[in-house]
Each structure stands twice: as C-alpha cells, then as structure tokens.
C-alpha cells in the first residue's frame, strides 16, 4: 500500500513538473499517449495530490498521536463517549428541527406530530432524549475520572476549566432541551429557572428578563430557548470541544502514575488505528444501547403547558435533582449563591488543589474531598428521587 502511494506521489511530481515547464507537453502526455488502466489511476492520484498537497507522512503524523497504554482500558474512553453522543445529538437534533415549530401555539402539537404521526419520529425523538441523558452521565463520569486521577494538575489546569465550561454548556442544553416540548414541565421548569436567576443579586433581574423575554413566560419566550438550544449552545460546545482536544494534543494524554508495565513492553500505542477501533466499537455499542432504550422506554408526552395550573408533582430532569433538593433545603438567595460558589470552586479547583497540597502536605486531600462531594450529590439526587415533594 505504501509503495503504491509513494509511486503516486512520484508520478504527481513528474506530471506537475511537466505542467510547470510546458503546459502543452502535459496535454501531450494526457491526450496523445495510449494511457493504460494503471496510468489512469495514477493520473487521478496526481490530480488529487496536486490540489491537496498533503503527504502520507504528514497525515500519519496528524492522526498517529501516541497514547499511553492505560487508554486501552474502556474506562479511559469516557472522554470520547460524550463527543460521540454529541454527534448523535447534532444528527437527531437537525432531524427533529425539521418538524418542530418553536412557537407556544404550535410547539406542543408539532412534538405530538413527530411522536405519533411521522414515520420513526418516536424513535428519533427517543434517541435524542436518551442520548442527552447518556451524554450528561458520560460527561460527569469523564469529569470524575479526570478528577480522581489528578489529570487536571499542572500543566493541564486550563483544560480543566474548558472541561467545566463544557459541563455547564451540556447542562444548559439539557435544560433548554426539555423546555422546548411545551409540556407542563417545560413551562414550569422555564418559569422556575427564570426566577432562580432572579434570586442572583444585581445581575439576576436583567438576566431573567433576557432569558424569558419579559417578567414572565410569554409568547416571545420559546424562540429564545430554541435558539439557545439549537444554535448558540451547540456552537459554543463545538468551539469548546475544539479547544479541549487541541489542549489534549498539545500536552499529550496524561501518563497514569503507578501503572506496572513489563520492561520489554512499549508504553504507548498509536491513536490511529488502534484507539479509533476502540472508539468505533464503543460507538456501535452506544448505538445499540440507545436504540434499545428508545424502544423500551420511548420519550413520552406529558400534558400540554398550562399557565394557570402548576401540577401537583413537578420535578426537573434527574440531572438537576441535587440542585432542586438544595433549593428546597435553603432559601433561594442562599441556595443560588452557595451553588454559584460551589461551581466557581469547581472551575478553579486545580489552583484550590495546589493550595490544599501546600497546606495539608498531602497529595490526596482533593481525592477525599471529591469522595465526600460525590456521595453528597448522589445523596441529594436519591433523596429528591425518592420523595414526592
């Protein structure tokens, strides 16, 4: 294969050389000579190489990022999982947008139409919903993996900040996503979301006005959620993912400490094709999982939004259970400010960690705090899930 490739390049150099010296000579070569099949192929290769001047070596250097051997463990493919699911979300999202109508008068009916009338509409809507759930779960698991292996430490602090931004944008996509269905939860979720913003001192009021297009939910509100969900947040996510991956390429994948490897084994393997095969298998597995979930637990349609009646039992999606419980435990202003502070701490954790290591002289302090935080979040989530109010 490599031989044929370099032959093609040589051929291209010959042909382009002829072209530069005398263009009529090239026409001679192409038209008046008896061209055999193999030459025809190399002519194509030459045509391509002249227009896309990338050599095979350059391409190999671009794709063959050597990755540490611990990446062979499936647990460490969790960063690629949300990226794959995001591609699924883009595809299914574009498809849903083809039938969805973002106006308070038509939104609910168009979702009903997708779910009940369009061929396989229920499938694509359900895949979109389940991929969102899995994407948030994968992002959180990926973040936990990075946290507990200390992969955010120097020099990768900035990529942790990018990762936290990715988490925030993903949660924003989740929130704006279920607001579009215009069922009861969509309406009251958006209303409560706006009022949570309102609880932020000084900037809260204007922010709420910007989100809801007024003091309360009105006919101008839904288009804002739609543009956030289908344009602003996804584009932000794409740009951030680009920076995230660029940082990974610049620093290389973090070497895992404490890995015991036999001396004669190489410590790295090639990203292409070895790791790509892992990702391909993972992608197919996710596709099967998504299809199974979509078929067994399809996305349902609750009652249409009713501004006059708040349902007796109302809860956000599971990924907001912890914050929802937190809101019920404390008054809105304290809950919002404390949550804001926690999120701020998470953003700057690489530096908090440096401080903690200096104070406690123990590299594992962050790990202990992380374990407590994970159990706290799981505890709040389970608590919220277990009770009606």
């Amino acid at each position: 294969m490599h031989g044929a490739y370099s032959r093609g390049i040589a051929e291209s150099q010959v042909l382009s050389g002829i072209w530069r010296n005398n263009k009529y000579l090239l026409w001679d070569v192409l038209e008046h000579r008896e061209i055999q099949g193999t030459q025809r192929v190399s002519r194509l290769v030459a045509w391509w190489n002249e227009r896309v001047p990338i050599s095979g070596d350059q391409l190999r250097e671009l794709t063959n990022e050597p990755v540490p051997n611990h990446m062979k463990k499936w647990w460490f493919a969790l960063g690629g999982t949300p990226a794959y699911l995001f591609v699924v979300q883009i595809l299914t999202g574009i498809m849903l947008a083809i039938y969805y109508q973002p106006a308070s008068t038509t939104a609910y009916e168009s979702v009903r139409y997708i779910t009940e009338d369009v061929t396989y509409g229920w499938y694509f809507r359900s895949v979109h919903k389940w991929a969102a759930t899995l994407m948030i779960a994968a992002v959180v698991l990926h973040q936990m993996r990075v946290y507990f292996t200390g992969a955010y430490r120097c020099p990768r602090e900035l990529n942790w900040v990018i990762g936290m931004s990715l988490l925030m944008v993903t949660l924003g996509l989740g929130f704006t996503g279920y607001s579009l269905v215009f069922e009861q939860l969509s309406y009251w979720g958006a209303t409560v979301g706006g009022n949570i913003m309102d609880a932020v001192p000084v900037v809260g009021g204007p922010l709420k006005q910007m989100l809801l297009a007024g003091d309360q939910y009105n006919e101008q509100t839904l288009p804002r959620f739609y543009i956030l969900h289908a344009a602003i947040l996804p584009v932000t996510l794409i740009l951030l993912i680009g920076v995230h991956i660029a940082f990974i390429r610049l620093h290389g994948v973090t070497e895992l400490e404490g890995e015991v490897e036999p001396e004669d084994k190489t410590k790295h393997f090639n990203f292409f094709p070895d790791h790509i095969l892992t990702e391909l298998a993972l992608g197919l597995t996710l596709m099967i999982l998504l299809s199974a979930l979509a078929t067994i637990f399809p996305a349902m349609l609750g009652p249409r939004a009713d501004p006059l009646t708040t349902p007796e039992e109302i809860k956000p999606e599971w990924f907001f259970y912890a914050t929802f419980r937190w809101l019920k435990l404390f008054g809105p202003t304290f809950a919002v400010l404390s949550m804001g502070f926690i999120v701020f701490l998470m953003f700057v954790w690489p530096w908090v960690d440096q401080l903690l290591v200096r104070i406690t002289r123990n590299k594992e302090t962050s790990t202990y705090i992380g374990i407590v935080a994970v159990f706290l979040i799981i505890g709040l989530t389970v608590w919220e899930a277990a009770v009606a109010h």
């Binding site: 369009v118 694509f124 094709p273 391909l280 596709m287």
Partner: protein, 179 residues
Amino acid sequence: MSLEMESNQPTNSQSRADQRDEPDRRKALAAGSSLLMAAGLVGGYGTFFALAGRYLFPSGAGRAWLFVADAGGVQPGQSIDFESPAGVRVTITRKSDSTEASPSAEDFLALSSVCPHLGCRVHWEGHNDRFFCPCHNGVFDPDGKAVSGPPAADGQDLPRYPLQVVDGTLYIEMPYSSV
C-alpha cells in the same frame, strides 16, 4: 482498510512470543473480526440512516376520507358543492347517464382544481363556460378535459379526487388541513 492493517501489523501490545504462535490462525482471526466489525458498522449505521430517510420522507398524513352525502340521494346530473375543512371547494357531480338506485363511486365526478401542468389552481370562468389556469393559459371544459394550452398539448385533463361509496354513503379523499 482496517482489514489490511489488522493482518499486516500486529499491534505493539502483542508480545513477541505471541507473534511466533500460529500466525495463520492469527491472520484469519484478525481478518474475520475485521470483517465482522465492518459488517456491524455498515449494518448498524446503514439501518440508522435508512430510518432517517424514512423519517424525512413526508409520512402522507394530512389526507383523509371525508363524508360527502348519501349517494342515492344525489339525482343523475345533479351537482353538490362540497367544502373541505381546509376550505377547498369541490363540485361533485353525478353523471347524467347513471340511473341505478344505488350508484357506485364511478358514477360520480369530483374535479380537482389543481392544474396537471405545473400545479397552479384553475378557476371556473362562468362566462366562457370553462376552467382557466392563469399560470400558462391552460383551458379545460366543464368535464375537466383539456381544451387548449400546455395541458391540451400534453393530453393532461384535470385530475379527479378519489371517491368511494361505502354502504350507500359517498366519501371523498382530500387534505383536511391547509397552511
């Protein structure tokens, strides 16, 4: 492509001792698993995109069989004006040569006002006793037969709405909603 790489370059995690063992079986296994992988990819994503194609193709919803009248109650030669829920007016005529007590769908005529040439709406010109299409001057006689203009040149008469008689009741198939 992956097939070739699998068989030619053992991944560097495989120890040298492994590589000496049964290279043929290893090659066959590698080729077989690559083939399975390729089949899985093509089958899996192929199905996904096939379903996506079905999803994007309009489902045909929006048309329905609508009640018109008691079929026997319409006299031969008589016309009834029908207006669909979408506001489309259709004249449904019982042919004058149909005299049975219980007429079938073939005894009725419901002309569509959609020009067979390029889809514009024709309208009735009472003073000329004809249907006229303003887009390209198509002309049809009262029975919907193309008389002049592009439709006549191509032999395209006005299309008819599907009709059916079930248990003596006449139904017409039309879109029930409009933009």
